[in-house]
Structures are given as C-alpha cells and as structure tokens.
C-alpha cells in the first residue's frame, strides 16, 4: 500500500468471514486459507455491490469513451478514457444508450433546478428532487437509493449496513446537494472521504493487545448501552419529522454495536496508514488517499463487514480541481467549456482516464481476494456510473456505464459493448435488483420502469 506508513494493525473479524477466502497479494493483509471451508460452492459466498460514481459526464464520448467492438459486441479495443481497464477487458460490460430520464424536466415536478443535483440524486434513486428553497437551488432526493434498498434487504447479515466511501467528495458544498445515497425520502447520506473515520467505522477499535482490546470493547459496549437509552429519551421529545432524521443516528449506533460484537476473532490483519496530519481532500495526494479508501473498502467486503458500498469521486458541482493529474483547473468549470476547446477537452479526458484507473484499482483489489475457485469479483457487481452523459450541455442521455464482475453468473460481464437504445436508468436499477434475486419490476418513478434489461442478464 503506497504512501501508507503502517503504525496500526487491525485484527478483522472472522466470525462471518467467507468460506475459503484468501487475500493473496494485498499488502498488509494476511488472510489464511481455511482448508475445511475452501470447497464451498460459489453460491455460499455473498453477493456484493460496489458502485463508483463520478460527475460531469464524459468529454468527446464518441471518440474518447465508446469502445470499438465487432459485430457481436465483443470489445476489440478500449478507447482513451477506458484504457486503464485493458487488463480487465474480459470482465467488462460497457453500456451505451442508457438514459437518466428522471433527470429531465418533465420528471422533476417540484423543480429540482440544478442539472448536476438531479443527476446525482437520480442515478441510484430513479426519483426526482424535492423543490429547492430560498438559498439552495435544489432540495434533496425523494426516495431511497438502490444501494440502501439492497442493504436494507440484507440488514442484520453484516456488521455494517453499507459503506459510503468518498474519494475527495465533499460532505456538502455551499448551497449544493451532493448526496448520491439516500436512506429514504429526503434522507441524504454523504460519502466519507476521511479515511481515518472510515477505518474506525469498519474496523472499530482494532488494534493492540487482547487485554486492551477487551477493555476498550467493554467500555464501548457499556457506553453504547447508555447512549441507546439516551437516544430513546431524546426521541420522545422530538417531532415525528425529527425522529425520522435521527434514525440514521440509531443506525450508526447499531452498526457500532455490531462491529463490537463481531470482533470476537480475527480474519486477518489490515495495515492502517499514519493518519495524523493527512489532508484527505488534497487533490495532489489523491493517488494515495484513493488507494487506501479502495483497499479498506475491499477489505471490509472480504471480511463480510458489509456487502454494499458506493464510492463517490469528487462531486460534479464541487470544488475539485485537477491537481491529481497536474492541472489547477476547476473540474466543474472545465466541464462547461465547449467541445471546440481542445485544451479543456483533453484535460477532461485525462481526468476521466484517471477515474477509470481508480475503477481498475477496485477490480484489481477484488480479484486478489480468492473465493472458492474464483475471486471476489466473480461474486460481485462493480459499476461505474455518472450523474450526466455529457457535462457542457447537462445531457442526461447516454450515461456512461461500465460494469465488471458477473455476480455469481447472473450478469454478462464478458468483454462486451452493448447498445441499449435509450433504455431508462430505472430499468437498469431493476435489472440489478433481479440479479440480486429480488424480482421487482418497479424502482423509483413507476412511469420510467418497464422491467429488467434482459440482454444484460444471463
């Protein structure tokens, strides 16, 4: 793990750890093969969902993003932006013709003025935004996002409900609504870019001598018991609306408790970086911070601390600059430059190629985790989505989507390029639900749902 000085080692729970799981090659990770468990069928491994979301669409999609494929859709070469994914070509499915219909004005009855916010909230919820108010252009999303919906379905099976991982993604940005994930109507969840906080969320007290760990756990459990009681008392004094608001706080308490109770044994060790003084929002250091975020997320999946995770790369409307690739421009401002501005488009291509590299890193890390005869990727679905199709015209058509993993043989991620011909992104969300075994035919706005996209499923 580059850049990371190892001064903390965390013993990760084995209680629910996956049968036969190993993690060959992950630095700082030593998960032993358990022969007695190694022969389990693939279906005995849990299914996982990982979604990476970036913003501002892609520049020059036809020449920089769309891959070249033969008559049967097999990709023969990846274009400039997707080139970092070349080592994983046979695991990919590249989609064209998927439209984020819900972003369009006719589906935003309450206003939802800002194009980026519509897209960001809509891509996983399939629903419009609430109306904005005096200062904020847009309200929050009006329904639960797919990741949260699936996490609720799996509730109780893992210590942590779900992860919202930030890759230099602001918790908030002045007047803008930067939430990708929603626990429900008007209940945004922000992505966590501070790796040290995420580390504590995933690995709890981790650390140290068994006696010290036991003492910390005892104290935390005693305190948590008291806090839950206090929360109940506070809730009684709140309005119904506010009670719904603090439900997330309750969820957090429950997660913390489960992580505590889950920590009876170890499934391996994970080296944490030296956190002090680290600026997790420094664009020039994104190589190191995003690597760590991805690695600890994969570790959380490997140890079955959670099965659902999203990663949010910056924010289309946020203040992210391009220092991670050596430029000082603002991403959002640049995304509004015209197609004829070659310099701007080149930089945007370079940035999107960088993001593709992050996506490749996720795939590579998941492939390192052996599960039965395959890898964790075989049991997972990993998706790269976007809030827009193209930035400078706020286009909602042709949202760039790349997928990897086949989710235990339910998805056809096998190096193909598929033109869907203007299917709604709501149908895409439904397709994912089907792949996870939930045969529901509506997700988000019902009028945008026609059913699963059969050509994506096995």
């Amino acid at each position: 793990m580059k850049l990371l000085a190892r001064n903390r080692r965390v013993h990760v729970s084995r209680r629910q750890f996956l049968k036969g799981a190993t993690a060959a090659g992950t630095v700082g990770l030593a998960l032993p093969i358990l022969p007695s468990l190694a022969s389990g069928a693939q279906s005995e491994f849990p299914k996982r969902l990982v979604v990476l979301c970036s913003g501002n669409g892609v520049p020059r999609p036809e020449s920089s993003w769309v891959p070249t494929s033969n008559g049967s859709g097999k990709i023969t070469s990846l274009n400039e932006i997707l080139s970092p994914l070349q080592p994983h070509l046979d695991d990919l499915l590249v989609l064209e013709g998927l439209d984020l219909e819900v972003g369009k004005s006719q589906y935003q009855p309450m206003g939802g003025f800002h194009a980026h916010e519509r897209g960001l909230a809509g891509i996983l919820t399939g629903r419009p935004l609430h109306t904005g108010n005096f200062e904020a252009n847009s309200g929050f999303g009006t329904g639960i996002s797919l990741d949260q919906y699936l996490a609720n379905k799996m509730s109780g099976e893992t210590a942590i409900h779900s992860l919202q991982v930030g890759l230099n993604s602001p918790l908030q940005n002045w007047r803008n609504r930067n939430a990708l994930n929603y626990a429900g109507d008007n209940q945004p969840l922000y992505s966590e870019s501070d790796g040290s906080v995420l580390f504590d969320q995933i690995f709890g007290e981790g650390v140290q001598e068994p006696a010290t760990v036991a003492r910390i756990r005892k104290r935390r459990q005693s305190v948590l018991d008291m806090l839950k009681a206090d929360m109940g008392k506070v809730e009684k004094r709140l309005s119904a609306k506010d009670r719904a608001r603090v439900e997330q706080h309750y969820t957090a308490f429950r997660d913390l408790e489960r992580v505590l109770q889950d920590g009876q044994s170890s499934c391996g060790e994970f080296a944490a970086p030296a956190f002090a003084g680290r600026d997790w929002m420094d664009e020039s250091k994104m190589d190191g911070t995003t690597d760590f975020q991805i690695e600890q997320m994969v570790q959380a999946l490997a140890c079955d601390r959670t099965r659902i995770s999203t990663l949010q790369f910056g924010s289309g409307l946020g203040a992210l600059n391009l220092r991670m690739i050596g430029h000082t421009d603002s991403w959002h401002s640049l995304s509004h430059d015209s197609d004829s501005d070659g310099g701007a488009q080149d930089k945007l291509v370079e940035l999107n190629r960088y993001i593709a590299g992050r996506f490749a890193k996720i795939i590579a890390e998941m492939k390192k985790i052996k599960e039965g005869d395959g890898t964790m990727l075989d049991n997972s679905l990993v998706i790269w989505v976007n809030e827009l199709g193209k930035g400078n015209n706020h286009r909602y058509d042709d949202i760039p989507i790349v997928m990897a993993g086949n989710l235990q043989g339910t998805f056809k991620c096998d190096g193909r390029h598929v033109q869907l011909g203007n299917r709604s992104s709501n149908d895409f969300l439904i397709t994912i639900l089907h792949a996870f075994g939930y045969n529901e035919n509506v997700f988000g706005l019902p009028e945008l749902c026609t059913g699963p996209i059969s050509e994506l499923l096995v």
Partner: protein, 562 residues
C-alpha cells in the same frame, strides 16, 4: 451616477424560466415584499414594535415605508428552532466550558458542518454513521485526557471518607451532565450514570470518569440542540430560552447567569431577555460570534476551499483572510454598521497584502504587529477584498450571482438543461454577458447576475487591480444594478455598487433575513415576515447596527413560544 436606464434587451424577457426567483406575474419582486393576497392585507399594519429599551411603541408609518418587509398578521409563535447538531465552533467552545482546566486540542469537524443560507448552523441533514464515529473519536480523545488528568476534573480521592468520595463523584457527574445536556437531570438519571461510572471504577476512578465523559460527549443530549416538541403548552422552558439565546449570541453553552435567568423567570420578560442579550452580545464570545456572522455572510473563509485562488502563494491566502478578519473586527467593534462593511474607504493590510494590492503605506496608520490601516482608493469595504473576490473566481457571472443571492436575497435557479452556446473563447466577460443578455431565455436570469458582477471586472481572481483580462481584452467596470421594476441603474465600479447595496431597502431586508436565519438556524417561511419586519425596523432605527438587530429577535413575546 447615471439615472435609471431601461435596457432594451430586457424588454423581451422570458420570465417563465426564472419562476421562483423573485419574479411573479411578470414583475420583479423585492425580496421581502410578499405578494398581496398571499401574505394577507398589506394595509393592515402591525400595531406595535418593541424598541431597543424594551418599550412598546407604535410603528412609525414613515419608517415602515422605508422597509422592504410587511407585517400584517403578527403570529403568537415563531415556531422554535429545528433540531440540529453542534457545529465545530459550538463543539469546541462547549468542550472548553466543560473542561476549563484541561488544555484540549481543537477538534476540526468543519467538513461535517453544513450551512443554512450563508451560515454554518448544521442541520440534521448531515448525520451519518461516520459522523457518529467522528464524535466517538472526539469523545474518546477527551475522555483519555480526563483519565490522565482526572484530578483536574473530579478530584475525589482525598475526601476523607467513602461517603464523601461518592458524593464528590456524583456531584462531578451531575455538574458535567447538566452543563453538557443543558437541562437538569431527571429522577433516577444520576443513579444510572453513577452505575456506568461504577463499571469503569472496577478498574479505578480514572477509568470510571473516562466512561462518564465518553458517554456524555457522544450523547444525543449533548450533540443535538433541540426543543421539546411534545410540550402541550408550546412555551419554551427557561432552560430552552437560555439555550437558544446562548447559541445564538455566543455559540456556546449557557453561562450561569443565563441559566439562573431562565430558572427565576427573568427570561420570560422582554426586558430580561434584552438585558441578557445585550450582555451576551458585548461579551468576548458575543463579539466573536458577530464577527463570525459577518465573515460567513461574506464567505471570507471560503478562500481556502476555492480552486480558483492562486494557492501557490499561501501568504496571500492567509494574509487575505486576516485582512478581512481585522477589517470586520474594526467595523463590529465600532457600531457594527453593516453598510460600512460595504462602503468603508480603508482596509487593514500587512506589507505582503499592500504589495499585492499595490497600496502605498506611506500615509497608513501603523497598527503594530506588521499591520497597517490604509486607504484603498475605493469606498467599497469588503467588496474589494481578495477574500471576497476570490471566492467565485473572476467570472462576473459568479460574482454577480453572489451579489444577487447573498446581498439582495434573490434566488437564481441552477444552470438550465439546455444546449449551451459555444464558449465565447477569447472574449471579455462583458461581451459574453451582452450575448447572454440578448437571448431572452438566458437574460431572464442573467440580468440578475452579469450586470452586477461586471462592476467588479477590474479585479482579477485574487483581487488584484487589472486593466485587461487574460485574453488581452481591455476592461471597464461599467455595471448595472437591477431595479425592482426591471429597469437598470448604471453603476461604475465597486464604489457605486457598494452605494447601491447600502442604500437599497431590499438589501437591508436581506440583512434582516440573514439575521433571522442565524438566530433560528432555518430558512424563513411566510409566517416569519413579522420577525423579519422587526429586525429590519431595528436596523433602520439603530444606525444599521447588526448587534441591535440580533437583540431585536429576542424582544417579542413570540420568541419564547414554540
């Protein structure tokens, strides 16, 4: 200044695109002038206003005419404050108050702070599992320090008897919990906490106190600021009034005097509230809070987060922030007149910033520590500070957007979902603005932004004076100010922009809006028009003093109703 000029390009405005942004039925509304019929009868006047001395007076019709807000139906209640979570500032001040004898580190949770309007007031929107983890980290760090220095927090080991030791410990726990929770403990509550202490005390006293402090600092009773929604009387308790006033004026937990005033009934009287408000606003923390209000309004601290600033020279970034902070201090300390924030002809700079601005320090007043009070050559206060100008970059449309939204409280929808025209590569901002304004769909919103921003065109993205842009286009600062009737007043440069802003009643109404938002940590609703009327009235009759405006908020009987 030239008189009103109706720009021909506005004649064909398509107003539909800007609905919800201050335009109703084809006319541009002044921000706080509510639509007749929606807000009730405009001719129905409020009878009374409470003056700065707590005296009830008839509303002066001549003053009322100068206000942008109308109050026609004074409500009995202001609706209370919403549930919210402590801000970074509030958290750190609370820790200082809870543990005055410890030297605690500053906990930076600013990434988790959220804004309501222009202010950091934290709502519950940002409560996430990781937020709770962050609070646990903070609580454990503080509790660890209490463990190591327990004698500074609960020195109960040399009391002489077990009975006295138990009493000492229970007193310490009660003191900490009642202060942190801003309420007295309920029956049996102290026993419960003492039981928790006992679990830790199986190891030792230090560990017992660690348990207690970890619990307190993660408790929802500490983390959240809220009022009891289930009280049928709909009247705030004395403790709740104290909490509201304390967070509003000092961002801190209530002090002993305020708690006592809440308990003995003083805060249920108008004069009692006004006197304590005045005491708080003039305290060190009150002064600091007033400066924070101004700083957040002008977005001074955002200079650190804008990607457009030239970050290569950190001395400019820190110098610019300090310049504005010192300038704001001076204005707040001398009357807190908000118009002077816009119209003052001086600034306070060090040599680095003087060079940055090309200010001659020969005749400047030496304030010591390397800082000088110097004339700027403009009478535009903060409008020509680097910290203000850099926030939205140098594009006039962004600068104009801020003028419209933050100083006139107008609304602008987000960028529309349309095919944008080709970028005007190499053209000046003025030329781009002219093209946008010539297109009715664009002009309906851009008329509110571009003309105001162009008045600041002679300053680059870090506030340096310039005569041409990056493409070599010659620049002028001939902007325009949008009038309520849709016409424009020509303005030249920041000085005339400042004059317009400081003299417009809708700008004063906007200041009143801001003060309301700060006080109640929420956006206004139509039911709040009388509160905003009162604040605006107080501004106009008290030399535009921001402190008096904030004090006015607590004067009405409705303040203590939920």
């Amino acid at each position: 200044m030239k008189n009103v000029i109706l720009m021909t390009m506005i004649a064909g405005l398509s107003l539909a695109a800007c609905q919800g942004s201050g335009i109703v039925d084809g006319t541009i509304q002044e921000p706080n002038t509510f639509v007749k019929g929606e807000e009730g009868d405009k001719d129905k006047k409020p009878n009374v206003i409470i003056d700065k001395d707590g005296k009830v007076k008839e509303v002066d019709p001549e003053i009322e005419e100068k206000l942008s807000t109308r109050c026609t139906d004074r409500p009995d209640t202001l609706g209370g404050v919403p549930l919210r979570i402590l801000t970074t500032t509030e958290l750190n001040l609370a820790l200082e108050k809870l543990f005055p004898s410890l030297e605690l580190e500053h906990f930076d949770l600013t990434a988790r702070d959220t804004t309501t309007g222009v202010f950091v007031r934290n709502s519950t929107e940002n409560i996430t599992p990781t937020h709770v983890v962050e609070f646990r980290k903070m609580a454990e760090a503080v509790a660890g320090q209490v463990h190591d220095e327990v004698e500074k927090v609960a020195d109960c080991t040399s009391t002489g008897s077990e009975e006295l030791e138990v009493k000492c410990i229970r007193d310490s726990i009660e003191q900490l919990t009642t202060t942190a929770f801003r309420r007295p403990l309920e029956a049996g509550e102290l026993d419960k906490y003492f039981t928790l202490y006992r679990v830790g005390d199986e190891i030792n006293h230090k560990e017992g106190m660690r348990y207690i402090v970890e619990m307190i600092l993660q408790s929802p009773s500490f983390m959240y600021i809220f009022e009891d929604a289930n009280d049928a009387k709909h009247q705030l308790s004395g403790r709740e009034i104290a909490q509201h006033m304390s967070t509003m004026f000092t961002q801190n937990l209530p002090d002993d005097a305020l708690i006592l005033a809440g308990e003995d009934g003083t805060l249920f009287t108008t004069m009692g509230r006004i006197e304590h408000a005045r005491r708080l606003v003039e305290s060190d923390l009150g002064q600091r809070t007033m400066k924070a209000i101004v700083s957040q309004w002008f977005g001074i601290n955002k200079i650190h987060t804008t990607p457009l600033v030239d970050l290569e020279d950190s001395a400019i970034v820190s110098g610019a922030e300090l310049e504005s902070e010192r300038f704001i201090s001076e204005i707040v300390n001398e009357g807190a007149d908000w118009t002077k924030l816009l119209t003052s002809d001086f600034t306070i700079v060090n040599e680095k910033m003087a060079t940055h601005y090309d200010i001659d320090l020969t005749n400047a007043e030496d304030l010591g520590d390397g800082w000088f009070k110097a004339k700027t050559g403009y009478s535009a206060g903060l409008l020509t500070h680097s910290s203000f100008l850099s926030v939205e970059g140098q594009r006039s449309v962004y600068r104009g957007h801020r003028i419209w939204t933050d100083f006139l409280c107008g609304n602008i929808p987000g960028a529309p979902v349309v095919e944008f025209p080709a970028t005007f590569e190499g053209e000046s901002d003025r030329s781009k603005a002219d093209k946008r304004m010539a297109k009715s769909d664009c002009a309906s919103c851009h008329a509110k932004m571009d003309p105001h921003g162009i008045a600041l065109d002679l300053f680059d993205k870090v506030g340096r004076r310039r005569t041409q842009d990056e493409y070599g286009n010659a620049l002028t600062s001939d902007g325009e100010f949008l009038n309520p009737d849709g016409s424009f007043t020509t303005i030249k440069g920041p000085q005339e922009l400042a004059i317009e802003l400081s003299q417009r009643k809708e700008a004063r109404g906007c200041v009143a809006n801001h003060m309301f938002t700060w006080a109640f940590a929420r956006h206004k609703t139509s039911a709040d028009s009388c509160s905003i009327f009162d604040i605006e009235y107080a501004l106009l009759t008290n030399g535009d003093n921001l402190k008096e405006a904030l004090i006015q908020v607590v004067a009405s009987d409705a303040f203590i109703q939920r």
